[in-house]
Symmetry: C2
Subunit: 184 residues, 2 copies
DNA sequence: TCTTAACGCGAGCCAGGGCTCGCATACCAT
DNA sequence: ATGGTATGCGAGCCCTGGCTCGCGTTAAGA
């Protein structure tokens, strides 16, 4: 039941955006009565929260898995593989990505995203700090901040805006960006 | 009168965010009756639109002015000065920046931003195309896309998230990022 | 001073939508 | 079979908020 509601929530979000996301619509999409929603969720916001949390968890787990597989690789290969995994994770559901990234009211959502970003940043900083041969930047924490933010944003924008760039081209540019930066 | 309403709109947006932005609140803040709003604006959305358009225009004009002053400079100095101008423009009103960037419903707003971004990208592509000595990337359009998006996002995130980085450090990192990228 | 029209006012209309509450139904234990 | 409980239902309550409409007021022109 919870399952049906969450899935319906995701569907309404994806198909019509957040501005038309109403409890009645979710109930209808789940083929459930409005009253039943409130047996499992305290309010509308918490339905959205569960949808978003699931999405963020799935996505970050995919990337984390790829990253821990490639953690021994060096520099360019590692950047490329990680970026590739990130792109793949984002490409799973571009419509939901758009809603999460561009339409949702902040509050919990933003906090959740920020938290994931911080974890990734710490990982990256540790990685950079341990490998002076590929990282010539003086401040590993700062470099990690720059790197993670740049890659994340480029990946998201590429998926959402579909600019005139092939996937491989994008990965090449990302690798060049990071490699050039770390060595300068 | 229009002036008072727009200013009140900006104020409500900045002080309480978009979720509590109601026509009644705007009217109260402008010390004006709700009815009077509709003598000058067709609906609520158009009030927001004017506030946003003004902000985007002001900001992009500041950056454009700085850019046209420095257009003869090469590589690092140019990146640094432009990024500096962008930061200064964004720092004028961080609260409004947050609302525009994170809370507003899409539609017109996003279209307006995308349009400005495209212009900047074309400028940057022309600049890069004309200067092969500082740009070793094969595809100038792609390089411009990467560059503009990365710098813009880093600047916005720095202003909004106030990470543990001084302003000068940020500028140094940005210059290193772009210079390293273009030469690799 | 008188007329007129634009300007502004604000109580209130009305639609939309979050949420509730009393009832029905299905399932289980006795 | 029968009583009891948990699960789901859905009409509708009610509040919020965008927007309107008819009235007062003010100021310009005759």
């Amino acid at each position: 039941m919870v399952e049906r509601i969450v899935e319906a929530g995701r569907q309404v979000l994806v198909e019509d955006g957040y501005d038309t996301f109403s409890t009645n619509r979710v109930a209808a999409a789940a083929d459930v009565s409005p009253g039943s929603l409130y047996q499992y969720f305290p309010d509308k916001a918490s339905i959205v929260a569960v949808v978003v949390d699931r999405y963020v968890d799935e996505t970050s787990e995919l990337v984390a898995a790829a990253l821990s597989d490639r953690i021994t690789e060096l520099g360019p290969a590692m950047v490329r593989d990680t970026a590739d995994a990130l792109l793949a994770a984002l490409e799973r559901d571009p419509a939901l990505l758009r809603v999460v990234y561009e339409e949702l009211p902040l509050g919990r959502t933003h906090a959740r995203l920020t938290q994931v970003e911080r974890q990734v940043r710490h990982l990256a900083a540790a990685y950079l700090g341990a490998r002076p041969e590929i990282n010539h930047r003086p401040d590993a924490a700062a470099a990690a901040w720059i790197m993670v933010l740049a890659i994340e944003n480029l990946a998201v924008r590429w998926v959402l805006d579909r600019p005139d760039l092939t996937r491989d081209q994008l990965l090449d540019e990302m690798v060049a960006l990071i490699a050039g930066y770390l060595l300068s």
